[in-house]
Symmetry: D2
Subunit: 428 residues, 4 copies
């Protein structure tokens, strides 16, 4: 299998060891990812962002392939039992491809809207483990315990610490692909970093004790700019895309809509065109795997279309607004206002009430935050030709300044017709 990818150029899975990737790609559950956009509703603000979880899954497997190549180029520093056998490499490729297979429609949105349901990671594990899925059957064809091993790896658990972290860690293959991919498809030029150089910068550092294996580290003489730019690329993507005001507003609306649908269905009310999975979750607390796998972006959009005429006025209104892309507006709180966010929210709610609109539904506070860099135990160390391993924040001018700092965007979100009055209420 060889194909063109806008991010990585030539992507090929042609060897015996890599054959598991094209095999799994044919599975129905992987093909379903073609119908789930990587960035939910972000395409409403960035018209290029129509890329799907499917191309991301392939890209992630490709980055894992390159990671494996790099590990083998430096594995002379490892004891034999720590090196990547063909079996381990195959496990890792499968886990990379499948790591996001449990995502619901609109990526994180569905999950966020139904907070008491299982997470997408739970669904990933279910899909890999359930004997009825094609993914499970393909994995099992290789080795009866492969589904279990992949399920563990997806959760970031593996006897080889460096491999576990490559699936789930600060510089994991998932992030390596999605940062580059999201930057490319949105057209945000800042979100890039040098993947070649990052991979090349990996070294095995000294083991903590004789019984331990050497740990994966970054070459201090060459690798600092690679990790600095990775951290910055991620920071820029958060600032520009993941925390974008229109994206957050549409997520707020979709969350309210699904929450309301959930409530209505729990009451036993009938809602036309409700996806069976949503009905089951509302009524029984969970959906069958088949129901869940029948969900995708199309299904939700088809529901939205039908719900425009729902009898529940909130469902009808939010569906209409979302389909017409009439999004809620935001008002960002800075400095003092951010400190007294509850007060700001209270004022906005009063405005809504005065206008005869339900403040629980048409006004909200959206606080998004992220710590772009932290030097925790999870983080890679930096090694120099001479001297002891150091923390990235100790040797990088930039990371030293960012360490532990929290990026926070706090906004009021509200229906556009309330805008003028809310701005006025907050100004006084």
């Amino acid at each position: 299998m060889i194909l063109r990818d806008p991010i990585h150029g030539l992507v090929a899975f042609e060897t015996e060891e890599e054959a598991i990737v094209p095999a799994l790609i044919e599975a129905r559950e992987v093909q379903r990812l073609r119908r789930i956009r990587q960035l939910g509703l972000t395409h409403l603000s960035y018209p290029g962002a129509d890329h799907t979880r499917f191309s991301h899954a392939i890209g992630t497997a490709h980055v894992m392939k390159r990671f494996i190549e790099r590990m083998r180029a430096i594995h002379h520093a490892l004891p034999y039992w720590q090196r990547l056998t063909t079996e381990r490499a195959r496990d890792a490729l499968a886990a990379a491809l499948l790591h996001d297979i449990g995502h619901g429609p609109l990526s994180h949105l569905f999950e966020a809207a139904l907070p008491h349901g299982p997470s997408h990671e739970d669904y990933t594990v279910r899909i890999v483990s359930d004997p009825t899925t094609e993914v499970h059957q393909i994995l099992k064809r290789y080795d009866a315990s492969l589904p279990t091993r992949v399920a563990e790896l997806v959760r970031g658990r593996h006897p080889l610490a460096y491999l576990a972290r490559a699936v789930s860690g600060t510089f994991d293959v998932d992030r390596c692909d999605y940062l580059l991919r999201d930057a490319h498809f949105t057209g945000v030029g800042y979100g890039t970093f040098d993947l070649d150089w990052l991979l090349r910068s990996f070294r095995f550092g000294a083991a903590a004790t004789d019984a331990d294996a050497p740990t994966l580290a970054i070459d201090g003489a060459k690798g600092l700019p690679a990790i600095e730019s990775f951290i910055l690329a991620r920071l820029f993507m958060f600032q520009q895309v993941y925390f974008h005001k229109a994206g957050r507003a549409s997520e707020f609306m979709m969350t309210r809509l699904l929450t309301r649908a959930h409530a209505v269905l729990s009451d036993g009310t009938r809602l036309p065109a409700a996806p069976p999975a949503l009905v089951s979750i509302a009524r029984e607390g969970d959906a069958s795997l088949a129901e869940y796998l029948a969900l995708d972006d199309n299904v939700i959009m088809t529901s939205l279309q039908a719900w425009r005429d729902a009898s529940d006025p909130l469902i009808a209104d939010l569906s209409r607004r979302l389909q017409a892309r009439h999004l809620f507006k935001t008002y960002e709180l800075f400095g003092d206002q951010r400190e007294r966010r509850d007060e700001a929210l209270a004022r906005a709610r009063e405005v809504a009430s005065a206008a005869g609109m339900d403040p629980d539904e048409y006004v909200g506070l959206d606080a998004a935050s992220d710590v772009p860099f932290d030097d925790g135990n999870d983080s890679l160390t930096v090694v120099f030709p001479r001297g002891t391993p150091r923390k990235p924040g100790d040797v990088s001018f930039l990371l030293g300044r960012l360490r532990g700092e929290k990026l926070e965007r706090v906004r009021l979100v509200f229906a556009p017709e309330l805008r003028e009055a809310i701005v006025k209420a907050l100004a006084t």
Copy 2:
């Protein structure tokens, strides 16, 4: 309105003259293009090709904006009555944005499958002209005759010949955008050309007679590589993407499926989840505009899902194959075999019959052709500081060799289970 586009970078419509673009973008009929992929089923072979007609529409308006800027930089060579007034510029921007608004689901596919129905150009004109559409209402707000003028422009008719050709001609703004966009999203590196240089190469040549206006031409000293690379970019895209075997095979299948659904519905048979537009076209020869506008990729995909269990065996089988991405295979005919294509088809049909499969449905001949460059009357002339205008094919080494040459790809298309037998039958 200012946004990021992966192809053009910063895209802005901020002036008075350009305000019509953001206004039209809000129209329901333009928003519908978000749900129609630019390249139909090509994403099955190129995983990045999920981009939609919506981003292409914006990109086309942007190229028109740049074209207008360039015309104004060189319009001193024109008599006053040939220059671009604000009204003409607005017309052109609207036409660029709306040129593809009549596309059905999967872009060209729906149209190709129902050959006796109206074309997408017809629908574009209908949408622009029909008083019930938001697009029409917005246009009319500017000027009562604007819908008519835009409808004319979309068809390539305008008193200013150079403007008409910019909407529909060899180097029109539509092609300028889609070549770059399709190349970017598929990851095919070859399909690029230098838009800056192409625009900069435009000149106004001498008028044929005193009564005529000067015609748009290419600067021979600077512009040849720009048009050469444009023609080559297009040729590469045909070879690599538009004529790609998997794409052609899936189009073949979808065409068969829709044709069959059309036939079944014409007979009065009920087909679950058939889009109302399809029912109307089958039974009454045409669909209402509202029905047509309710069509998009999601709708077709939802039908496909439902049709997996249709009572008509062909519909059920093709729907299942398409949804699972089990595509038909192709066998390309070269040289002698291409000349005797009917014989090759006959043999393949025999194989199908022998295998108990309907040769009308499971075997076909797919001939795709294009003339990458022709020096017809439509083509731009090339002007030099001294001397008479020349045809591009007379002054370009490359275009001289390509002039009038036909690129043709001829393939048998068939169900994969017939592959071995067909290859064998053709080898003898």
Copy 3:
């Protein structure tokens, strides 16, 4: 004049207003910049870095042209007397092209080696002002006072504050070009920023008082990432290129060499192949303009070749090493060692003495520092649709963390044969 530039693509100076740029490019003093590498000896570490001050001068004029276009797009916010007339635009283009014309060979190196001589800015002013230069004569042809106005502008002085800062300020056209150019030719992928977006982000903010003109500012809603990435691009270039250890080591050597040549010549000793400018500076404290303009990289390299056999042993030795690219080595000081740098230097000097090498010449301490971002009075303010102008550091997560922070690299520099002993001496 229209040409291709690897950084900016199509570069054109074709209008009446821009005609001064191609006119000045023909001047002998501008052509001399073809023989001066932009980055001195950096090409010894980055093999692509052979680009010259000449291409940078053209690129800077191009950025100024774009800056002027942007100012005119937003100048409705300015009183008439603050807008850019054709004369002011011409002055600005000339100043942009000529801003670096006074550079000596190897760019900053020659200047650094002769600290008591005039700076390159002084020479720029001299060249512009001296009636014997072609540059002066061309300027004068336009307007008798143009040389004076350009000389003022080059020094960052102009009645229009926003124009003065565009020539010499935090985000000036010089930096805009050299950051992109140096990043491109070295191949350092990090040093980029979005010039389109930066230009587009400029706004005119409110005037401080009624008598004042509005000041140039950055649009807070759109422009923060543009200035953040500019600051980061510059930081990365300092870390990766401008403070690169091999570059600093070769500069150290060249400085020692020129200083020594200066001393030898001051004593009246003859040094074969010494450029006349160097002789005059050594003996009379200054060189004539003609002598200075005869200097370029070739001249210095030809001297180096001849000096390999100089009777002065230090001159001969350093010339040989530099020509063979046998560079001095460095040892970077971190943490505690950086605090006690004098002690480290003392130890290294002892090593040299013990090895019989002159510690003044073969050992040195190189401290390079820069404050990547400061929110001084010079800095642009950030304006929001509502509310008062803010400092970038107050509204940007990233700039807030970098504000006033000093990047410092401190290294011992020494002849390679001393390396082992110095490393050992420092370890104890």
Copy 4:
């Protein structure tokens, strides 16, 4: 050794097998390439084109490294005795790095000006073979017969045909690097092709007879666009850069100048600042290797500077014009005029004589030609899963149209003061 290259990104020679590359890079004769521009005087028309033979040499070795990797990925199709051992790989890397080491100043120019002297290929072989060069000594350190083997390889002779062609053939590593490099530094966007895809497309085809080895071929299913775009990239570079009018005119002048200097020196006349190599060639028909290696661009430019005041009026005049970049003009001949080029030349010569200028020196005819693609025996074949190998021109639409076609640019070249009169003379 690991470094950044603007063309290939991360370039590393770190394994045992590759260690010969960093070793050779330190050799004085390789370092000399830093002082020879890759494109001679092309930087006069393309301000970015200051790149040197040194960076090209490293780039070529990098492409060879990648070629070797690819060969090893597919060498299972080869008998053992045809595979790349470590020794063969080392030979190939050395030959790639050194293939151009014999170039004189201004790359091809010096050689063209002295047509009876040795070619740059001869000098390359001399440098590799001469026991006094550092290059020779380094090679010999590995293996006494290595200099001989490298000299053979550089001439395209090697027992492994596919390796010989990789050094010197239609798709050799030299071309792969210089096409990309020259396109990048000139900023000509067209001259690119997909190196990854080209390498990946290599296959070993069937052997002609049982005794033969399989030959290197291109995968017909995937590789055609790679070779098509390679051929086109080369064609574009010829059209845009290598045959550029200003470049050809400056080469014409430099050739005349060096020829005249050669003649003057042959007569025994003294010419100040003449490089010893030129004196020896003029007087003795050849220069010593040491003299030749002392030549570089700087040396020629220093001579030019001195020759401005030469007593020979032609030498003085051409030196002055070249240094001031006052280049000769060109007049391209098309169609009929091209057929009767001698007549055009005769007319131009008459104009010169009438103006009192020596027609032998100030007027000339410059005919540049190239066959962009030919399907000779040297060319790679194209192989398909089924069926016999085919010639590229038989299976590629584009190459079929270009096969054997000759690109020709014919121009009169003359001093600018003759321009008007010559244009007039030709018009009648």
